[in-house]
Symmetry: C2
Amino acid sequence: MFDAAEIGHRIGRKAYRAREPELRRALLDAQYRVLEEGRFPVVVLVNGVDGAGKGETVNLLNEWMDPRHVRTEAFGEAAEEDGDRPEMWRFWQVLPPKGHVGILFGSWYTDPILKRVMRHEKRSRFLRRLERIRHFERMLVAEGALILKFWFHLSRRAQRDRLRKLSADPDTRWRVGDDDWRHHEHYDEFVKVCEAALRETSTGEAPWHIVDGSDPAYRALTVGQVLLDAMLARLDGPAPSIAPSAPPPAPALDGRDLLGTLDHSHTLRRDRYAARLEHGQAHLNRLTRDRRFHERSMIVVFEGMDAAGKGSTIRRVTQAMDARFYRVVPIAAPTDEERAQPYLWRFWRHLPRRGHSVIFDRSWYGRVLVERVEGLCGEADWIRAYHEINEFEEQLAESGAILVKFWLAITPEEQLRRFHERESVPHKQFKITSEDWRNREKWPRYERAVADMVERTSTDIARWHLVSTENKLAGRVAVIERICEAVEAAL
Amino acid sequence: MFDAAEIGHRIGRKAYRAREPELRRALLDAQYRVLEEGRFPVVVLVNGVDGAGKGETVNLLNEWMDPRHVRTEAFGEAAEEDGDRPEMWRFWQVLPPKGHVGILFGSWYTDPILKRVMRHEKRSRFLRRLERIRHFERMLVAEGALILKFWFHLSRRAQRDRLRKLSADPDTRWRVGDDDWRHHEHYDEFVKVCEAALRETSTGEAPWHIVDGSDPAYRALTVGQVLLDAMLARLDGPAPSIAPSAPPPAPALDGRDLLGTLDHSHTLRRDRYAARLEHGQAHLNRLTRDRRFHERSMIVVFEGMDAAGKGSTIRRVTQAMDARFYRVVPIAAPTDEERAQPYLWRFWRHLPRRGHSVIFDRSWYGRVLVERVEGLCGEADWIRAYHEINEFEEQLAESGAILVKFWLAITPEEQLRRFHERESVPHKQFKITSEDWRNREKWPRYERAVADMVERTSTDIARWHLVSTENKLAGRVAVIERICEAVEAAL
């Protein structure tokens, strides 16, 4: 894989001087077009062998383009404190918004590669992380991102010569650290691991570009040209189409689904309710104070038809918790910063750190519910979302989060009753809008979306709890008891 | 100050039961009105003596209101890593946006008080921090925030009894830590420091409410009622008016200002330019690699009339730096998330951490330049901004940031020439819009705003550098040399 990058590619000084100004102007022009159109972000990953000119090239890109709209971030091995959230969290924080260029130095490849080279992680874990990266990049591309992955290569001998040369010059000695020499000793092992990483992640939608790093002029022009061509192709060509997606899920032939099997007849006397609620809340309170809970985080998701009682149920849950350690995040229309990012971005930004909980009042499932039903995203977008969401939740679970998901279910008749009640009680009128009535007309389509959602995203790591809130009291108690069970099982 | 809170205020169980439901509904209604109108944020500070029911009351507020729109954050003493940025940074990160309620548990008072009680900081430093807080709160209020500061008090004896009682019950024992008992031993000293803090910071715009914490019913109803009344007063009453501001600065009688004294006749031959630029960049590069520089951060601000060459100058600066450690932040119209916050918020969010640099292409000075001239904020708003900005920059300097501010100056004739040039060169056309022509007509008003700005914000900690870029080459070299001087002086 790296052989072609060891033949000593070179560009003469004269040829470089002849091409550089033109390339530079074209890059700047393309960058401004990307910015003005604001249709997609450009994500540039820079990885490779030490001493192969990664830093110099990144600086050159910043020089050639307008650095005001380029954000460069460097990543090394994951630090301890990063363990507070899923490993991809730190990358989500710096994804460039649409129209901007983000240069991720080291990127999400450095940590898995180094951990594997140093034998801190097993091969199976390594492959799993690469698989995750593949899915992540595919999602970014599907969300519109232009991803360019540059791998800077040097042969073992060229690396040694380069490190020696840098060390000899007082002006560049600072560039060479102990780490660099230690890595050099592991060169063969390092390259072997890298080759595996590149092979596993050189996909159709985000292939690696291997760059011979031995000649500064060659590597600079190469990277600049690849970047330019890619931007122009996206600017002038059609939007990328991810492989055609499967047809949308078909309803079961007998017309039945899990939601339809739900028993709405539960009732609960008010005195029994008070006792069970208090008991459940006390239990939840004790659990969240447990020492072991402080090592975890908790994410509770509430979805449900309008007027199913999400808000009042959430309040019964938070009553049992310490306000310093939880947050309720209501999901409404995205802000403009959120719209400039992949749809999962606005959930990543709210993920709790260790010892904390976040309760989502509506969630990332909006993608396969309201966005599907209202046509706010394309069919292929919500179809791919099931898998993306499962991937996301898997990462949450792996990072130690306790994830509990609720669908609060009511019958259409009960919804109608509650709508009328809201309209007649003055201090509840703000809760009912014409949109609620419009959504109600689409009940059957929502119901089908819910059935598909539950079928495809109720996984062993994050099962859906379908809870009838036809009787509000019974529903609230059930929710709290389910949360307790989930926390207990997790601890 | 605390005497009135030691007389054992009480509310009987029956009276509590009679008032609580009504208060609760009214609070919820008020909260929704605040949310719908989205005009101001509600910032609730909760501080006080250990064991006085702070946590319980905060939980109750979350129960009474809709926790989806309340964000509770707890703050203790500043941790080591907070030292990477100015001390107020962590509070800016969690300020509630307009329409929302933020409960800041511990808030910005805990750290100065504890540091003073433990004698880790001198009295002069303590008073200085209180002064900063006073300015900060005044700014929040001026920006529209409703601030409520609750101080929960307990007498020495009541505190001891309460800690004992909590320790005796297995269900509440977890609430009492070693810290609580240690603080109890320091009770007298603690209360003395607190009294000074409250006295210094009980201002007209943000007074303290001292709450007797001995009776749960009394303290809960008190806090709820104060909060309710304050929200209603803001909802139904006029917007708060900060004390009338001074009249706007008058121009000097002789019509001269610092800007007018600037010499625009410097020229620089291209070969001399190349040599000096290279020398300056090499110098800057060495400085930013200095070990001592890694202990600091750097913030460079560029302001200037349209076409004064901010962009091209910034590029000459960044060429000398490592892209992994700097960011260029271009300031354009605020996003909707930024509009829901005080105007300085969007600059706080971009502050560099230690070892990093941020270059602002336009900055917080927009408040006293474009916002003043275009009438985007009220007169009182930009008049108070000078002091707020000086305060802000003082905090930057104190946190170790090296702050360098440039006004790039050209003559109106030169601007006209550059505008025409931009119109005639294809790849520069995107740089010129009808807005630039409109701004040009306001040249005299901008000039006056600049003169006022320089006069009022060129301080000993952050002097303005007025640099003529009439000759671009001379201007660029001057900027880089000034940055080098500033960094050298700082190290």
